[in-house]
Amino acid sequence: MLDFELLFLVGLKVLFALLMIGAVMTMAGYSVLAERKVSAWMQGRVGPNRTVLPFVEYIPFLGPYLKKMGIFQPLADGLKFLFKEEIIPGHVNKFYYNLAPIVALVPALTTMVVLPFGEFFTSDGESIPLMLADLEVGILFILAISSLGVYGIVLAGWSSNSKYPFLGSIRSSAQMISYELAMGLSLLPVFLWVSEPGTGAMGLSLVDIVHSQGNAPWLLLVQPLSALIFLIALFAETNRLPFDMPESETDLVGGFHTEYGGFKFGIFFVAEYAHIVVGSAIFTIIFLGGWHFLPWVADPWPSTWVGTLIGIGWFLAKTIFLIFFFIWIRWTLPRFRYDQVMNLGWTKLLPLALLNLIFYVLLVTWIDQPAS
């Protein structure tokens, strides 16, 4: 017998999942536009300002403004990838060559399953986090899945059977391994701090992290060093400048995607930006108080659906600022040399993360010691 209630729930979840994918992909598309626009502004240029849908241009005031801001550019960019010829070079390993973009995109889209982006209040005033799956081990899940993203890059580099992609993918894997450690270690003190003393509750849930920052200082202010290490590691994980070793177009042509073109390259491109969007969201959740208003200030919005919407908006605003920060850094700092990246990762960040962890372990133990 069919259980209609279950079917309805499953259908609802699928709908939510599609909405979430739509939202993240749209944000990824528009962060490409943001990248182009912001880089243009920083370099004294104007950026894409020609693409426009028919007739939109003739809307008074709004139309020319949208055109000037290049709002329709991502559409054109995406379509361009779709209409391009799919070239598969003769020297590649066809199966893995085709598989690689998918392997790169899937982890980027999987991590968003556990991202809480707002809260909903029931009539009893109870808050339910808005997310696809409330995993107890949310951050562990994210760390595990996001590091799978490197497989796509390694696979692309290897299956391309050509020197530049190969070098790019080797660099990428080395870099990922180096920075994953520092990233994990920088998050441990955060979760130590958040776990309530005495109760023995030792959650890794992202929702608990956000709740702990409501009407309280953001964790960025409590643990600036952890935040800094995490941010640097995040830059390395998302292959963003100054750590874009796998791509480094100046010395490796196009890095791991040298042999890719058309829509397959587009998938790599979108995956990269989806990583940035999700990474920004994670940083917002852990260090910037998620959807809560400001440090030490209680949310000024009411505990109704209005508050839910404002909270989501506030969360998005923080995430978008971080995406802007990613872009901002990219057009400010030059790329590290490969050995400098390794040096920074292993001899600076890792010991720093360890010291940071030890310090907070001692601090938390001292604070939590039972008053005798």
Partner: protein, 181 residues
């Protein structure tokens, strides 16, 4: 002889070794750049300012009275290094009072813009100041034939330029005054 001075290099302070203050400075620079005036020229809508004496597309000009100045002497055709100019001379009718003393005018004047190298020799050599390389710089077309500027096109591009000599008018008035040489 200049003496090489080796400047002592101070060891970096702790904050300098983290590079973080420097990164913040760099971020400030890029951020303030975002609000500066843009240097982009929105090309087809905005045109660059053409400097004086710019050598653009060669054109034929008329004098302020609307008469064509070229007398079909073919010096430009002769001097043109890539042989881009071809002139078919024609006669000016003697009844044409406004063009007294002028014997010839080009029946056809062609400048092949696929050949032209914009050297400006034609302008330099012209005894009538009839051909000028003006501000127009973009010529385009879909075929080779389209890239050959015909006489009417050349006059359209050239327009009218001020004339400080009125050579033929002077000659005519001199004749009227009985100073014919």
């Amino acid at each position: 002889m200049a003496k090489t001075v080796v400047l002592p290099r101070e060891p970096l302070s702790l904050s300098e070794r983290t590079y973080l203050p420097q990164i913040v400075t760099g971020l400030k620079t890029t951020f303030s750049n975002m609000f500066k005036e843009k240097v982009t020229l929105q090309y087809p809508e905005e045109k660059p300012i053409i400097p004086k004496n710019y050598r653009g597309v060669p054109t034929l000009v008329k004098d302020p009275n609307g008469r064509e100045k070229c007398v079909s002497c073919q010096l430009c055709e002769f001097v043109c290094p890539p042989k881009a100019i071809r002139i078919t001379p024609g006669a000016v009718s003697e009844d044409d009072n406004s063009r007294a003393h002028v014997e010839k005018a080009p029946k056809e004047f062609e400048i092949n813009m696929l050949r032209c190298i914009y050297c400006g020799y034609c302008q330099e050599v012209c005894p009538e100041e009839a051909i000028f390389l003006q501000e127009e710089y973009s010529s385009s077309g879909y075929s080779r034939e389209e890239m050959i500027n015909k006489k009417d096109k050349l006059y359209e591009l050239g327009g009218t330029l001020p004339d400080s000599h009125y050579k033929w008018d002077k000659k005519k008035s001199a004749e009227d005054d009985g100073n014919d040489h």
